[in-house]
């Protein structure tokens, strides 16, 4: 179980990373704070998107230049897509612009919770893997959906912790533990809903390979400091997992040896 830090690297589709914190790039107060936060988070992978731009404003070009300066790997998403067709087309467009086969595949099935449509997700993942994409599906913690996604060619899964932007943390730890136990060799990244560094640490202690954080850093009072807090939490959680956590128990167990305690020959009153 124990691995030295240089051996304990995150492996995703054949690429290796030191950091287990993936960072989103949305909602930051300014481009400068975005850059400083990515650095403080020590993120090596950031998520990006494609959006419409009005002719000539070139805001997208400035953003893309900023991301390239960071020297990180980009994971484009299909955020907001409500159909297989839109998600596939958006992925194809993203591959050309960002020049990467990686795609964080979102097919949203319910707009209040932004819950993934796992049926559409499996269909879109099948199409994209056949086209040579390396798909990172944003999914629920559903075991059967996970199995189908792996069957569709996904080598990584991104189960939600709780709804996007909610900050609720890990809503269903039982199902997440079950997912982890069922797919021990599959990189699993908890995506969405993580609101506090402690949530990220718990996910890492549970054995998840990485976490993706956006709103919790971007909307913090001090995003740069929060990014550092998350970096430490992810590292601490991973170290804790590698060090093999003790088993919880219902009753007390004295940590100080009982034998040799003073007055131990005296009966309880």
């Amino acid at each position: 179980m124990a691995a030295s830090p240089h051996q304990d690297r995150l492996k995703l589709y054949g690429a290796e990373f030191s950091s287990r914190l993936l960072a989103g790039t949305a909602q930051y107060p300014s481009p400068a704070i975005l850059s400083q936060s990515i650095a403080a988070a020590r993120a090596e992978i950031v998520t990006v998107s494609l959006r419409r731009e009005s002719g000539g404003s070139r805001a997208g070009e400035g953003f893309w230049a900023l991301i390239r300066e960071l020297g990180v790997r980009v994971l484009p998403n299909t955020a907001g897509c409500l159909s297989v067709k839109d998600a596939v087309t958006t992925a194809q467009m993203a591959r050309e612009v960002f020049d990467t086969p990686w795609i964080k595949l979102e097919v949203i099935g319910e707009e209040d919770t932004l819950q993934p449509d796992v049926f559409g997700l499996v269909e879109a993942a099948s199409i994209l893997t056949r086209e040579g994409f390396q798909v990172f599906p944003y999914t629920t913690e559903d075991l059967v959906a996970a199995e189908k996604l792996l069957g569709a060619g996904c080598e990584v899964l991104m189960p939600w912790g709780s709804p996007i932007g909610s900050g609720r943390g890990l809503n269903n730890p039982y199902a997440l533990r079950s997912l982890r136990a069922h797919f021990p060799g599959v990189p699993l990244i908890v995506d969405a809903g993580i609101g506090a560094p402690s949530h990220a640490a718990v996910a890492m202690e549970m054995g998840f390979d990485a976490v993706l954080i956006n709103t919790a850093i971007a909307k913090a009072g001090d995003p740069v400091q929060m990014a550092r807090a998350f970096a430490l939490a992810v590292e601490a959680g991973r170290l804790g997992y590698n060090a093999d956590l003790m088993q919880a128990r219902d009753m007390a167990a004295p940590s100080t040896p009982v034998i040799g305690r003073a007055f131990s020959d005296r009966a309880h009153a």
């Binding site: 949305a26 419409r52 731009e53 997208g60 953003f63 467009m93």
Partner: protein, 65 residues
Amino acid sequence: MQIHVNGKALDVRAANLAALLHELDYEDTAVATALNHSFVRKTDRFKTLLNEGDEVEILTPRQGG
């Protein structure tokens, strides 16, 4: 000819997708294109002819989560 670009109706002169990007000042920017919900590669833009009522999407890198 009237087409829809990024959801807005526009009267354009361009006969193909490459000419449309030039006409709308997107030339030399990092954009991806789709015509009627299907992706059009950069290399196919010149030969992709536009027709009345077409729906064109022109997307550019943006912040994402």
